[in-house]
């Protein structure tokens, strides 16, 4: 990942942030179908696995030695990402939330997402690469409460007044997965 973000105008920065704030509000208010409408039908939704990688002696002293990328088993790897989903997966997840027999979501969890550090990393004629960080507070009835923390690497498409989400890669900050599920909409 390159160090420098792209210069944005105050308007463009505000538009990007407004998109993410709205997205977080929809999800926290459980308006999942409205969230689904923000997705491009060809969306790729990825959550790489994160491993404790062996230090490679040949990389000592370099940034690569301790890079986050080395710890990820993502879509191109021959490991196994925790999630690699399409629109169909996300639609099933969304529809599931509205069924009374989704026992683990019933009563539903309470969530609060704080999204920040929104940076435009590159923009082509059609697409915007945007990274953002999130903290997600999650509490489920009859269970402990949890803090999820991570980064999202998105590809957005311009759509009407706002954007559509075409690709999302979620980099979670766990060491051991001591969380009830990584199956949430991050």
């Amino acid at each position: 990942m390159t160090a420098a973000a792209v210069r944005t105008s105050p308007e463009q920065q505000r538009d990007l942030e407004a998109f993410y704030y709205m997205e977080a509000r929809l999800l926290d208010n459980r308006l999942y179908r409205q969230w689904l409408a923000l997705l491009s039908p060809d969306i790729q939704y990825l959550l790489p696995a994160r491993v404790n990688a062996q230090v490679d002696n040949r990389e000592r002293g370099t940034e690569q030695m301790i890079s986050v990328e080395r710890e990820l088993e993502g879509g191109d790897s021959m490991g196994c990402p925790i999630r690699e989903e399409s629109y169909i997966h996300l639609m099933v997840r969304v529809e599931r939330a509205f069924k009374i027999n989704s026992w683990s979501e019933n009563p539903p969890a309470r969530t609060r997402r704080i999204v920040g550090n929104v940076e435009l990393m590159s923009s082509g004629s059609e697409e915007y690469s945007v990274v953002s960080n999130f903290h997600l507070y999650y509490s489920r009835p009859g269970s402990a409460s949890f803090l999820y923390s991570g980064q999202r690497r998105d590809v957005l498409l311009p759509a009407g007044e706002g954007y559509q989400l075409r690709r999302r890669e979620v980099i979670m900050d766990y060491a051991d997965i001591a969380l009830p599920t990584l199956g949430l909409l991050f």
Binding site: V51, Q54, C80, H89, R96, W103, S143, T181, L182
Partner: protein, 428 residues
Amino acid sequence: MKYTIDELVNRDASLISRRCWTDPAVYKLEKRGIFGRAWLFLGHESQIRRPGDFVQAYMCETPIILSRGENGQLYANINSCSHRGLPVCRADHGNTKRFICPYHNWSYTVEGALATIPQESALRNKPDKRLLGLKPVPRIASWRGLVFGSFDPDIMPLEDYLGDMRFYLDAFLDRFPQGIEFMGAPHRWVLDANWKLPVENQLGDVNHGAFLHSAIIPREAQDLIEELGYSVVTTPGHGATFRLMPEDAPVDDVAWGMEGMGGMFGGAEVQDYLREVQARAAERVGPLRARMKGLTYGIYPNLSFLWSNASFKVSHPRGPGRVEYWSWAVVPADAPAAVKRLLRTNYSSFFGPGGMLEQEDSEVWVQQFRGSNIDFADDRPYFYGLGLGEEGPHPELPGQVSVTANEFYARHFFTRWRDELQAVERAS
């Protein structure tokens, strides 16, 4: 402990006490009576193909390094330095010549021998390094690439331990000319649950599908599963559930992998591959097993295999109320890389820490521990009597056989569990 094991599991194991799940004294007995004596799953040979390759594993709470030595042999050692006990291997997997302990840099070979003590050059009396290697796991054995270890030097051979489960495991493992491969590091998920419930769930609990998972599994799909479904127990604690598809069923209905997300939406390459595997199944595993379409498998005490969603799983205890649940996607070793990548989503879409079904299972495992860990209800043990005595032999299928609604798989598990705990209880 204020009671004996005898009081926790009744004679036919149709009544199971809440204390089986929650009592620290019971957990201590489990460590000695079960985890100290059984063959425990360590990993798959596909993870450690080359000399110097290693992966981490656990035997109950004891950390293990499973490695391939310079001579090509398998080694399993306890991951704890002979000097002050630190884990000497800190990466999940990799390839190395030496494990170096961070504290004082004693170094060990990949086979577990102590190679160097940096401090000894300054000292007159040199320690005998041959006595100070990592502690080896006394027994290690591999069958079809599945590697197991045991702390009991006198344990029966692995093949005997697996017994007739080999018949059912081969229905899957032997379907592929080069066997299977584990993809990447395991997903490691820590839950506030007892280790036995994930095991029981994957041993034969097909029946919860239509209920707990009814938001995802339609009733008709579950009806079909139950109509064609069998549950078998080969040896108490080992079991399998599967469908036996009709002889004239279309290949797409029988072929392994077709019913997962990767099979359904992966396109022609993956589907053609799966059809080809199925076309050769009868010749490889025989006509009966070619019609088998597996669901859940369990190997006592804590290894599970989910055929329908291509995953091996181990339930590592971390105390009575905590479990570290590991799972791997498994794929045919000879499949093209692109096909493997698609097939792994047969696992990850529904299982593992992000899976749509397992997010429901994990919730009930946690809630079951909460429900067990309560007071004033010890006179109400859990009812495990569904289908009591309804299992029996079958002309073609080894083991005791019944319908999937029969909970005999769980009764057999707890009968063995009780007997093994009683053996150490008596000895103490």
